[in-house]
């Protein structure tokens, strides 16, 4: 397992295109050894390009890629010592489970006894130890994905395990259990993992750190909690969390931020900018009975029953926001309610970017 340094790596598929149009804008990232990372973003965000650069399928137009400090930019896939799990389960049809798992080791000419020991160890972790003699093609898709993973794990020196949307073709009912097993196994073997997905749930459930990508850039890197609590941009606020983060345009009068003519207190200094938005998660907006600081009157526009919670859509100062309330609180009887925007949970955004904390991982 290796530390991966992505140094000014950028790529374009059309030669000579200006950098603004590159599929992957030049970026500098460090993925620490033995951690799990998820690349998440909508299709076309550059996550697959980045993955292909890591696997060696794509040679970047510029920049260097270092595995534990050594430059692998020019090396072919075969020489990079990585493992990869693909969207479609890839197994060797003509081989048994055992032979599949032993294959990378046989290619490396390990001796028989050593192979045997290692394969059994990995198979046990995969929960496939009792099926080693079966033809691999008879397994279900989720077990095949485990074999793919296992082929990477048998190699004790693998630099990184890349996973490219590994749950795409898995039956919805099995997705959870497979994700769980993959996570358990990676926690046991602790390789460096880069997991690509377009599904935020998967990314946040799986990875220790999530990299949100958009338009060829990594717009935020952080733990799931960081992404949720402090989205670096309005996009991340929208992209992470369901329902999405509420954004309200506020005014700045003197040193004060006001909303609907009332002061809005925040735990942060607010920069001086012509257009300021504040973000607040629906989970943190509270319905209160009494006016107080940071409490605003609103009008209820709609109610959605999600089961355990209801999502109220309310109008605040001419802007719609969502409020999540527990089911047992019932639906407000009147159309007018008061909501509190908790001081510590209201974040300022300028030009779509969080304006308090340094912007993480934003290449400049």
């Amino acid at each position: 397992m290796a530390q991966i340094d992505i140094v000014d790596v950028g790529h374009t598929y059309t030669a000579g295109a200006e950098q603004e149009r590159w599929a992957l804008k030049p970026m500098r990232l460090t993925l620490e050894a033995a951690r799990t990372y998820a690349l998440v973003g909508p299709s076309g965000c550059g996550k697959t390009t980045l993955l292909n650069i890591l696997s060696g399928l794509v040679k970047p137009a510029q920049g260097r890629l270092l595995f534990d400090g050594s430059d692998v930019t020019a090396l072919p896939t075969k020489a990079r010592n990585i493992a990869q799990v693909f969207q479609f389960p890839v197994i060797y049809h003509s081989m048994t489970v055992y032979e599949n798992l032993a294959f990378p080791l046989r290619c490396r000419r390990w001796d028989k006894a050593r192979i045997e020991a290692r394969v059994h160890q990995v198979a046990e972790a995969l929960g496939l130890d009792h099926r080693l003699r079966q033809p691999a093609r008879r397994l279900t898709a989720d077990d095949k994905q485990l074999i793919s993973l296992g082929r990477g794990l048998v190699r004790d020196d693998v630099a990184a395990v890349l996973m490219d949307e590994p749950l795409t073709v898995i039956d919805p009912q099995l997705k959870l259990s497979l994700r769980r097993r993959i996570r358990e196994i990676t926690e046991q073997f602790r390789p460096t993992v880069v997991y690509v997905t377009h599904d935020q749930y998967e990314a946040m459930s799986f990875a220790q750190e999530v990299l949100v990508m958009k338009d060829g850039r990594v717009i935020q890197q952080g733990t799931p909690e960081q992404l949720f609590e402090a989205p670096a941009s309005t996009y991340v606020g929208y992209f992470i969390g369901s329902p999405a983060m509420n954004f309200l345009t506020v005014e700045r009068v003197g040193g004060q931020v006001t909303l609907a003519g009332r002061p809005l207190a925040m735990a942060w200094d607010v920069p001086d900018a012509p257009q300021i938005q504040v973000g607040v998660r629906p989970e943190y907006v509270k319905i209160v009975g009494e006016p107080a600081a940071n409490v605003f009157p609103t009008r209820v526009r709609g109610v959605r029953d999600h089961g355990p919670q209801r999502v109220l859509e309310v109008e605040l100062a001419g802007q719609l926001i969502k409020v999540k309330t527990p089911r047992e609180d019932g639906v407000p009887a009147t159309g007018q309610i008061l909501v509190e925007l908790p001081r510590a949970k209201v974040l300022p955004y300028v030009d779509g970017h969080l304006a308090t904390t340094p912007r993480a991982a934003d290449p400049e």
């Binding site: 769980r180 749930y201 459930s205 369901s242 029953d305």
Partner: protein, 362 residues
């Protein structure tokens, strides 16, 4: 104008795909059919559409036999889970297709197609082919095509299941508006997700292994699931079900006292029950039952923590996203006032929404 199914049954290779399905679908209402994969939801829709024969049972529309009516005369539109459009036609022609078949005048077609496309937000894509669109856009085309005809029966087979969750969220939001003016159409929507059933449905039908096991308004089904199976299906994450004993005013799982008997269960005789508790109704606390974190999932804005409590698994839902490491030991606290009680066969005995002494049942 109702669509009535009576005792529809279909067995293929010894497996029941439909078993004595009886349901009445009302005009102007949105019915959600919820069930796990392969519960028979799609089969039911296909039977209603005329794409699948049945072994027995009857289907009537306006009181007249509908089973013998061929597909193309059933006045039925359908949206599939897979993004199914005519690959060779442009977006415009895709939407115009059913109108052309119905012999609608050219100007009228143009007007209605444009209107429909505008409603799903695809006006600027009308000249593209489906393959040049994203998954979400493709499904919007399918929706537009289903809508444009004003069909009497509208079937939607997990239409958003293959979209990623942001899109799913968005289309779900739009859905009610899109279908608000379908007038007297019978709308049937299948899903595996409780949130969709809750949000969209006027009526929820819960399907399991080819049978409809409960029917009712969403809130009703949610608050009073008839069986443990319904309780699991209608909740995400599935309701925690555990077997315990009521004895001496306490509820115990094996030898572990987990909680006191809440008021609404107070009059239940001592004995063994299956208890149900929703994931949000368990809290992580500083003190309480000691459990080990086996898995953590993050779903939207919630964190689902899977816990093992002396061999029994529990799922706890907490608001917000939290970094919790696997293997941690945490304390959890059940909210006894939210407990459901089921008998050994799984039938609901008492729910939190019913007062003490009021018997459950249908």
């Amino acid at each position: 104008m109702t669509l009535d199914a009576t005792d529809l049954s279909l067995t293929v290779d010894g497996v029941d795909h439909l078993k004595d399905v009886t349901a009445s679908f009302q005009p102007g209402r949105l019915h959600t059919v919820i069930g796990r994969t392969l519960a028979g939801k799609s089969t039911l829709l296909r039977v209603l559409a005329g794409l699948q024969r049945v072994d027995s049972g009857s289907l009537t529309r306006h009181g007249a036999d509908f089973l013998t009516t061929p597909v193309w005369r059933r006045d039925t539109a359908m949206v599939y889970q897979q993004f199914i459009n005519y690959p060779h036609l442009t977006v415009f022609d895709n939407v115009a297709f059913p109108l052309k078949r119905a012999g609608v005048a050219r100007d009228e077609i143009r007007r209605r197609v444009q209107e429909s496309l505008a409603r799903v937000g695809l006006t600027e894509f009308r000249r593209r082919r489906p393959s040049q669109l994203s998954g979400g856009q493709q499904q919007r085309v399918a929706l537009a095509r289903a809508l444009v005809r004003g069909a009497g029966i509208l079937l939607l087979d997990e239409p958003f299941a293959n979209l990623d969750y942001k899109l799913r969220e968005q289309l779900r939001e739009e859905f009610k508006t899109l279908f608000s003016d379908q007038g007297d159409a019978v709308v049937i929507y299948t899903t595996t997700e409780p949130a969709e059933a809750m949000m969209l449905g006027d009526v929820v039908l819960v399907m399991h292994e080819g049978r409809i096991i409960q029917t009712g308004p969403p809130g009703e089904v949610y608050d009073r699931p008839a069986t443990t199976t319904v309780a699991r299906i209608i909740n995400d994450p599935p309701m925690n079900i555990f077997t315990g004993r009521i004895a001496g005013g306490r509820i115990a799982v094996d030898d572990l006292q987990v909680t006191r008997v809440p008021a609404h269960l107070a009059d239940l005789p001592d004995g063994t029950y299956q208890f149900g508790l929703r994931a949000p109704d368990i809290a992580l606390a500083s003190a309480g039952l000691q459990a080990e974190v086996t898995f953590v999932e993050i779903s939207g804005s919630e964190t689902f923590v899977h816990l093992a409590l002396s061999g029994t698994g529990f799922v706890v839902q907490i608001d917000g996203v939290h970094d919790i490491a696997l293997g941690d030991r945490v304390s959890m606290r059940l909210r006894p006032e939210r407990l459901f009680a089921f008998d050994h066969s799984g039938a609901l005995v008492r729910s939190p929404s019913s007062g003490p002494g009021s018997p459950e049942g249908r």
